[in-house]
């Protein structure tokens, strides 16, 4: 079982590293979207700072959202998903492996680059640290919840926008708490509450989302 988890994780990582350029894509998308805002509004430092937590978090969320179809779409299209479903290993484990790979390839890079963008948006240092923590706790949840959404829409062609319709409302609590933590940190107030909430949601998602995803996959496979 653990072996199956490990192998699948490795396969997905190897696949991603095969096209190096793709690896950086969510990251570049993240950076691009964040840079769009200063271009679109008059960039005074205060204005930038005020919108920074929101803009960075929303962009991270969109970057994850856009990379979600990496999770199952290709496997579905070429029939590999059928083979996963016919594996003697519990589907939940395999789902978890795929979600882990997805987070390594999208969430983690976002967390790493975020301080740079914070600097770019004139975010004070202490808020920058909180930004990292909040993203570190939040992005895995985005991948986990996203997995449910993708598994529900994977059989639908042109499901891209449908996916966002389904997933974005589910992302909202994370967005509120993540951005709020950074916002509050900017005012020098304590953020333990927000981070604890994010941690709690992470635990919850970690235990429930793979199950829901596995159920959803069995449903959509029933072609």
């Amino acid at each position: 079982m653990l072996k199956a988890y490990y192998y699948l994780l490795m396969r997905d990582l190897r696949l991603a590293f095969r096209n190096r350029h793709e690896l950086a894509n969510p990251l570049i998308f993240f950076v691009l979207v964040v840079t769009l805002f200063p271009l679109a509004v008059t960039p005074t430092t205060e204005a930038l700072r005020a919108m920074a937590p929101g803009v960075i978090w929303v962009s991270a969320l969109l970057a994850v959202l856009l990379s979600l179809d990496r999770l199952f779409k290709e496997d579905f299209d070429d029939g590999s998903l059928d083979q996963l479903m016919l594996s003697p290993n519990p589907l939940v484990i395999l789902v978890l492996a795929k979600v882990t790979a997805h987070w390594f390839l999208t969430g983690l890079p976002l967390v790493i680059i975020a301080p740079l963008l914070g600097m770019f948006m004139a975010l004070p240092d202490e808020a920058g640290a909180v930004l990292i923590y909040s993203l570190l706790l939040g992005t895995p949840v985005l991948s986990l919840i996203g997995a449910i959404g993708v598994s529900l829409t994977v059989a639908v062609n042109r499901g891209g926008v449908l996916l966002s319709l389904i997933v974005l409302p589910l992302y909202i609590p994370i967005l509120i708490f993540g951005a709020n933590a950074v916002d509050v940190a900017m005012d020098g107030l304590p953020v333990r509450g927000q981070l604890l909430f994010l941690a709690a949601v992470l635990v919850l998602a970690l235990s429930l989302a793979p199950l829901a995803t596995a159920v959803a996959l069995r449903i959509t496979a029933s072609r």
Partner: protein
């Protein structure tokens, strides 16, 4: 080994088959026949547990495959219309990836031997995207060969194979049967098997409920 009990399958408006029952023992080969759209693919997917039938059950060793998933899936292998090939993995990696989902560890030599057998000997490190449609299907043959499953479920395994490929598939089935394994397959292009073979015929294209006819 495998027992099908009064299956019914409806797609959209059409009843494809109902009250379909048959069973498959060891060392048996079964062909699902029927014209385009008669429900062969649907039947095979139900048989693997990928699709829920409208009615009826599929039993493996006397137990429902849904309650007995791990056991059943450890001893069967399925290939469908789709090639399961990753464009960015090499031929070798593609085979290994397929085997990994089944948690099989196969030695390097065995894998190479299988690839040689299906005619991809010098293609181990060619990426999937650079293969022609027939070469892709051959990877699946290597996978089936290495999966070590007792039951093979093959949906149109001859698609895109050239004459030599067809002969290969035939000999593989015969070998598998000789070793006590069983096979369920569909094909429109005559497979000449030099062994006893049963067949299930699915009805003529039935446009509405009640018109399906199946013989067994």
């Amino acid at each position: 080994m495998l027992e099908i009990q009064s299956l019914e399958c409806v797609r959209d408006d059409r009843l494809l088959f109902s009250e379909l029952s048959f069973s498959l023992g060891e060392a048996e080969v079964l062909q699902i026949e029927g014209p385009n759209g008669s429900g062969k693919t649907s039947l095979l997917r139900i048989l693997c547990g990928l699709r829920l039938p409208e009615a009826g059950r599929v039993l493996w060793q006397g137990e429902s495959i849904r309650s007995n998933r791990e056991d059943f899936y450890a001893s069967m292998v399925y290939i469908g219309h789709l090639p399961c090939i990753k464009a960015d993995l090499t031929v070798l990696e593609n085979v290994r990836a397929l085997l990994d989902t089944r948690s099989l560890t196969v030695t390097g030599e065995a894998t190479e031997a299988a690839l040689a057998k299906v005619g991809l000997a010098s293609y181990e490190d060619v990426p999937g995207k650079a293969l022609s449609s027939g070469q892709r299907r051959r990877i699946l043959l290597a996978f089936v060969e290495l999966a070590g499953a007792r039951l093979w479920v093959l949906d149109e395994p001859l698609t895109a194979l050239d004459v030599q490929g067809v002969a290969l598939m035939e000999s593989m089935i015969l070998e598998h049967r000789a070793a006590g394994g069983s096979v369920v397959f569909t094909t429109h292009h005559g497979m000449q098997l030099d062994c006893e073979m049963r067949s299930v015929r699915l009805g003529r294209i039935a446009r509405s409920a009640g018109q399906g006819e199946n013989q067994c």
